[in-house]
Symmetry: D2
Subunit: 333 residues, 4 copies
């Protein structure tokens, strides 16, 4: 097995950038070579901590020792960076989404169709040990034919209005993870979508024309279906549960408490809350996602989530919006 | 408190009739006076076991000592028996549904509108200790404002084709329980319905034009919503879980295993399956439902599920069919 | 199969007598013929409710129609009633203990050794569905050879001092149930006992010379052992958990909550407390225990817990006291 | 806050040495400066992987840049290394035990009594998030006065005979962790010990004069007690559960499954096994233990487990052996 250490250029030193930076640094086969982040102090601080230079994007792409780029920068930069990375022969690891515009995503995928370098769209949940084991169980036949998938997905609290404005809206920002998981578990492409949504948790979200509570049902040609339930607010923490129901039974995952501590008193039996949000809940997923990308860099496996996966999740999000608008079931193009 | 023993005429000696018969007999304040069941041997056997006469309907209604009737007979007899019972001044306990025809239900409710005798439509799940505690928790403000209700409801196995033919179809036969629970927990009437369904589990169900797998989403004027997920088949037993999600948190019920036994071995940690079906799972609910009806007979409380509740659940089932047919969200009349 | 209805004389109309009375009355093959209870109003009230006479013991034994006696009266009456019952040819169902004096128990068992009528010593926990399934799992080989049994057994709150005075002390009154379960699950007689105990929960218990917190370890000739942990106080309810650890794994039971309701809020994930005490927790066990006794009455099975089982549990309790007193491991005679 | 990077000499490159090496390397404030391991290839391999020299002990102590030593070498080297470390002014992190001989431990602690450098005896379980939260809950008064502590502790499989020979026996090798936890949770020193033990799992262990199954009960002057249950074999994985029972309720920890995946089928509801052994189960504990040691190095907190804690756990293990031998309760000196 190769012992090459892959040199990584990290774009974006925000919250998720720092998560990936730690995993890249901890992996014996990868090292961060440079950081790119034109905004504020986070980039400089991270670069200093890692002992690597903070440079601009041009300098990063000019560095011939860079094997791969990791894109954690603002959403509107993703498509361009993917294009520059792939066309310059670097492997690309990109946080979702590729872009909020389906047209832009499709144009990008066309333009890089002939590139040899691999693109991993970082749908982190696919790498969570419980979710991965659930999917492996389905493929192993543990529940026979899949008939119904349910995804319960609630954030602990709504994001800031500033965040919401650039987010693309509930379906493109939050539900897109669940749409990807639904496709991942169904094992068949959905052919129609029907959505119900509301802004209940705050007047601000309603004023912004966005939603915070939703149910999206997907159906495939075979009849099998997936049900996604979303909320931007779960007072007890990050609610992330998935179920696949099949002819022989059900596979499902439960929330992960901070610890197994139980307190039993006259007023009830109390356990700890689920881990608060994605940084804690999916810490293992991020680590395993990076280990997978190293295998992609080694050329031993193809990316487990591709640009096409990113596009198809966005197609479903657009169909969900069309369903809401028209009050009807919408065929997936 | 009154110590009157209420005398009951039981119509129908089938599976559910026998459940109610045992509870009526075990209650210190009620006794079965007679059994009516014109079909087969079940009526005679039950009457003999109880030591009461097996008579026909006319004889039952002619008996002035009868205080109340319990209707567990075939669906098509329900509306007429309700009418005869209420107009003759007897309290009526009727298994769901009132009738498979919404027009018939509405005509009946009109015709008995002036009757003083009470009618309990036996939506048994409302009386399950966990479900009742969930609803009480909502009313007590434990989770703040309700935003989202989910009902997972799967039968262990499809019924016979003969049963399906007279059932009225998935929504009128099975989902109707879930529609009632959704209304019960939402605390606000749904104003629109959208449904997705398929026949997946057997070619027979598909051939019969019925469905076995479905997702129905209800929405209220406030935006709050309920999601019902159904299947006619859950290989591990009766899957009955309800959740209410609100501004302060979530209340939910889990399946009830046959016992708390756990077997831990090298091949995993195994617990017992959920109770197999409604007779076992809702044994306590049936008992408590009867205790409630005795209070109704005493005149101390109104029925906790009325003819109007029966009608509204059927209205939602009809709207779900209309949604399926039209491929669109349907307003509830 | 016989359809004989067995006629029962019930001795003792207190709390546990009323539990058995309800089960006897609800069983299609048994009826209470008369009640004996010389103290207070409970006997008269129960007899009136059942519509049977309240008589004295002599009258009860003089009634030739009585098939069996159920002994729920004060502990000091048990041995005499067992003797009168068995020597007069009645089957006997006796609440534990047979007597607080081992000498008296042994004398009794000698005196009735030649009686044909069966004696069931009502160790109720053996009939609990989870415990029975645990024991059946052991016998089926699910965990291979049993190596270690643990019994966690805590009452919700200490009894009154008046009760304690006549109780025989912690080991003879409370631990005796756990000693029986340990024997039941070990499948081999213990040959030595070592005990640790203290009075912690109240000065009254200490003043009375009794204990409220204890650990008793039993060991068999093969080396396998059982550990019993007791407390007279568990603020959250009745704590009743059993484990058997063997060469292939572990079988264990958990506490049974009042319902499966879960409340998830910012301050934790809360479930309902275990059922409060034995009347609720072992309701099924009492019902199944009675169903077993009916089979004993029919002559189709031998009693699942005998006078000898009662004696052996008391022998272990005495050994535990001897261990405490001598500060050493005590051989079981 | 200081940003000094502490330089560490690692003694022992075996299994646990590699765990600590990874945590030391991953911590931003510590680095491994050199490795000492005279046996086999593990030391050279680890040193090469870390890019640091492999030296002998004399060279390590001669290096003035070393701030602290981490002792993961063979048990018989521990006491000498602690002494050399502390007397040369280095902080010492030492895997348990200090030594298998109580006399040697006491001589060592006397000889280093005047050293200023801190010694952390690495009782890893104290740092597990669930155990730490349990202990914090006790100190916060969540369960009132502690009355009873139980520690269930079973290894997945017996170690090799070669390991057993140098282990000091069950109580000094395995139970010592549980004795430490019992002391940690009781909050009062035990004054007596009584033990029961057997060799059941294999003839080899019996032949070696060692035990594999045991129950040890500790009691304090106040009467409160702790019960430890041990086995060298749990076919389903590492069984590590702790409970503290107090006047207001119970705090307890459960086993941690590999993931929350649940498979529900006709043959039962199956979850994943507990994490297999200490490397997996206590991965977080080892990481947090190291973070604690960095605070000790910074001088901001005293060691959370000291040489005296190591001594007292060994005193209890010796008392347990004395109890077994004498068949009696043994006072703790």
């Amino acid at each position: 097995m190769t012992s090459k250490v892959h040199r990584i250029a990290l774009f974006g030193a925000g919250r998720i950038g720092q998560v990936h930076a730690a995993n890249i640094a901890a992996h014996p086969r990868t090292e961060i070579a440079l950081v790119v982040d034109p905004f504020g102090d986070a980039g400089a601080a991270l670069a200093a901590r890692l002992g690597v230079p903070l440079v601009d994007a041009d300098a990063a792409f000019a560095d011939d020792t860079i094997d791969a780029i990791v894109i954690c920068s603002a959403t509107e930069t993703h498509a361009d960076l993917i294009e520059r990375g792939l066309t310059s022969g670097r492997a690309v690891f990109c946080e979702k989404p590729i872009d909020l515009s389906l047209a832009r995503v499709e144009a990008l995928l066309d333009s890089v169709a002939d590139c040899d370098a691999p693109l991993l769209v970082a749908f982190n949940r696919r790498f969570d040990p419980a979710v991965a084991a659930l999917e492996a169980g389905i493929r192993a036949g543990d529940i026979g034919d899949v008939e119904l998938v349910t995804v319960m997905s609630k954030d602990p609290a709504p994001p800031t209005l500033a965040y919401l404005e650039g987010s693309g809206g509930l379906f493109r920002d939050m539900t897109i993870h669940d749409l990807d998981i639904a496709r991942f578990l169904l094992g068949e492409e959905p052919t129609s979508v029907v959505a119900t949504a509301a802004a209940i948790t705050s007047p601000d979200i309603r004023a912004a024309g966005d939603f915070d509570t939703a149910c999206i049902t997907l159906q495939c040609a075979s009849g099998r279906m997936a049900v996604i339930t979303n909320s931007r607010r779960a007072a007890f923490g990050y609610d992330q549960r998935m179920e696949a129901h099949g002819s022989l039974g059900t596979l499902r995952t439960e929330n992960v408490p901070a610890s197994t501590l139980v307190l039993e008193r006259a007023d009830g039996v109390r356990r700890e809350n689920p881990m608060h949000f994605f940084i804690e809940r999916y810490a293992d997923a991020y680590r395993l996602e990076w280990a997978h990308f190293v295998e992609v860099l080694d050329g031993t496996v193809p990316p487990r989530a591709t640009g096409e996966d990113g596009r198809l999740a966005l197609v479903l999000a657009e169909a969900a919006y069309a369903s809401l608008k028209g009050g009807r079931r919408v065929a997936v193009p």
